[in-house]
């Protein structure tokens, strides 16, 4: 991997000491993980000041926050504030999913103002140009698409969602009458399915995969192999269309790896609880244990407004089963574009899920944190509790009315911790 990917080597060399420290892993473990393709190191040398970020257990589970404009909510300033919020809340990466406004400008601003690895979905920029001219969103040519990918790689984008494993067969299976409740719910997937239908041709990202690898290799762009056919309803989870794409993603991850390009796999999506374990372990097995990046999983469809909670339930179980990277869901999911506080709450909910999963896995730092906050609780040491909490500011704020009291206001003099120590 390192011998083929010089850009990766330079990022690795500049960050390995810091990585060993922050991840609590040996240099050998990290090298082996990257060589095996079970870890990826996000970082495009063109992204100045990027914090190289390691994804793949036993490295710590990472959180991604999706931000970006939409046609109904196109406020560039606000998206920059969301970027700042995601960063401060503790996200480890951000994806710019903008589909309205000056996409190049927004992307460049984000790259310039934030050290978190930035991901994009280049096909959105394609479709947006056509939509803006009131043309077919799938009207773009293959050359246009690759020009966009190359431009974004040169701008410094660290990882890109590209739905290379979506085949015509998969798209047909997903949209056949009587099959899925919800067909294709991935925006990128639906644009590509439309492209294949309109052009009567196979997926251009699949047929021109080596062209993509060449661009990615040059700039150490990590491929985030997109799940265009992820289930959009619990009822659709685990069907043939989903697995057809997973199998392709595994083959493509292997080919990327052989080429010297880092790749991770994107996963579901809407999955009921009894299927999360088999989905995660099944996808991992079929994709050569490449890092797995999931959206949720969302373990019920009935919680709009609380999808960050339903997603945290699925996410924590997913982490226990080997997931490496959690894409947040915010309270706005399925309803509207997230506001600033949705971004904060989405990141925090994902951090809670990761912490719960890592404690369950016995990861040293997570277990130690739980232990130390419990000791602080015994000592009623509120400053230390806040310091160790996933949201220190919130923990302080909730106690503001009685911050001079030793006990908390739930129990007051009935504090069980004190009842026996008096």
């Amino acid at each position: 991997m390192f011998s083929k990917n010089k850009a990766l080597k330079s990022i690795f060399d500049s960050s390995i000491d810091e990585l060993c420290k922050s991840e609590g892993l040996s240099k050998e473990t990290i090298i082996q993980g990257i060589e095996d393709g079970t870890m990826v190191l996000l970082g495009n040398p063109n992204h100045k000041n990027v914090t190289p970020t390691l994804i793949g257990q036993p490295a710590k589970v990472k959180i991604n926050a999706n931000i970006g404009t939409s046609p109904f909510k196109n406020d560039r300033e606000k998206e920059m504030k969301k970027l700042d919020t995601a960063w401060k809340a503790g996200a480890h990466a951000v994806m710019d999913l903008s589909t309205a406004g000056d996409l190049d400008g927004i992307r460049t601003d984000m790259l310039n103002s934030c050290p978190l690895p930035l991901g994009t979905v280049p096909i959105y920029a394609m479709a947006q140009q056509y939509v803006a001219r009131d043309e077919d969103p799938a009207g773009f040519s293959i050359d246009e698409l690759f020009a966009e990918v190359e431009k974004e790689a040169e701008q410094g984008v660290d990882f890109m969602t590209l739905h290379c494993g979506l085949t015509r067969r998969g798209a047909e299976w997903a949209t056949e009458e009587g099959e899925r409740l919800l067909g294709i719910v991935s925006r990128g997937g639906s644009i590509l399915a439309r492209w294949m239908r309109d052009h009567d041709a196979e997926n251009p990202l699949l047929t021109n995969y080596d062209r993509l690898l060449e661009i990615c290799l040059k700039h150490n762009v990590t491929l985030s192999l997109g799940d265009g056919l992820r289930p959009g309803a619990g009822e659709d989870a685990g069907d043939a269309a989903q697995w057809e794409e997973v199998l392709m993603l595994g083959k493509l991850a292997k080919r990327a790896h052989e080429y010297g390009v880092q790749a991770m796999i994107e996963g579901p999506g809407h999955v009921p609880m009894h299927l999360v374990e088999s989905q995660i372990r099944g996808i991992k097995a079929a994709t050569y244990n490449a890092p797995l990046y999931v959206l949720g999983p969302l373990v019920t469809d009935s919680a709009p407004g609380y999808d960050h909670i339903a997603g945290a339930i699925g996410g924590a179980i997913a982490v226990m089963n080997g997931v490496d990277f959690l894409c947040y869901l915010t309270p706005a999911e399925h309803l509207t574009l997230p506001e600033i506080d949705d971004v904060w709450n989405g990141v925090k909910a994902s951090l809670v899920a990761a912490q719960c999963g890592e404690v369950g896995l016995g990861r040293k730092d997570a277990v130690q944190r739980d232990k130390e906050i419990s000791i602080a609780r015994k000592e009623l040491d509120w400053d230390r509790i806040a310091e160790l909490a996933i949201d220190p500011a919130l923990a302080c704020a909730r106690r503001k009315d009685h911050k001079d009291e030793k006990e908390c206001a739930m129990c007051g003099k009935f504090c069980a911790v004190r009842m026996l120590s008096e």
Copy 2:
């Protein structure tokens, strides 16, 4: 059971038709569950207008909301508003955990104004009287304690947490140097442990258990056998002290059942994810499959401010493993007494957990709900989505800025659902 407990029989007879309908269960299934002690029917005939409520899978998982005054936040009006909020949010039962003010008055107001089954912890009223006089909270006599239990039963309290299974041995194990990080965190448990220490005697609720059963039988008060030694830190989960009490609770549930008194078991508490399944299944097995009522479980200690989320993660997994009754955790847990919106958010988070668990278990109504909301999503039928959502008002409110648009503001013209249907 029915032949011994006349109060239960009267509640059963008045509600069985409605119960069969709301639970989707046959009369025979419900009778068998109650006879076997795997279901309990909450409802004290002295609680006028109570909605008899069935607890025990395959009956639907129920949610309890804890409310009540505390010494630092003693606002009777606000607690009545919380009661109303819990009810409107969809709680199935409420516990009045008041420890400040006119406890008899608060309890009577709550019983008069709400048809949800009401639970209490009678030992709080005992301790509160002594604390109010600046005396030892464990100064009360056995007769005083039973007089309180009898009075509350006559007032109409439907279920009572009584820590009958807490033994001197268990309390010693939990508080021994070098054992637990957090000793005893149950308020009732710590009061009783103090009583045992101060009086140099065994737990009066254990030594006088038949006296308790006699009162409960008369009014169909369901015993909620309290877990005074539940772990208060993930690190403490599953230790000898916890299991010593669980074993006693099982024996006591059996004795209650033989006496004609309904009983459920209270469970943890702080439990890391890898232990939730073994805890829940282990407790069920050791307690003759009596209905299990858990607080969380809270699968990390590090999320103060987000304990409703950490609790929903544990709760959903617990439901998948057989838990019957979830006590909510609010965003205020471990920090302060919940405010009105905390009550709302706590109930909703628990409802999300129950829905996720029930979908995972394949429960017909939960699966159907997920399916119908997914169909509504495909049709972009926002009214129907809101109608089926766990929080219809919230789902509507989040769309208010663009309620005349067909698509949601996340994707707008990029709506994947529409991309292929055009």
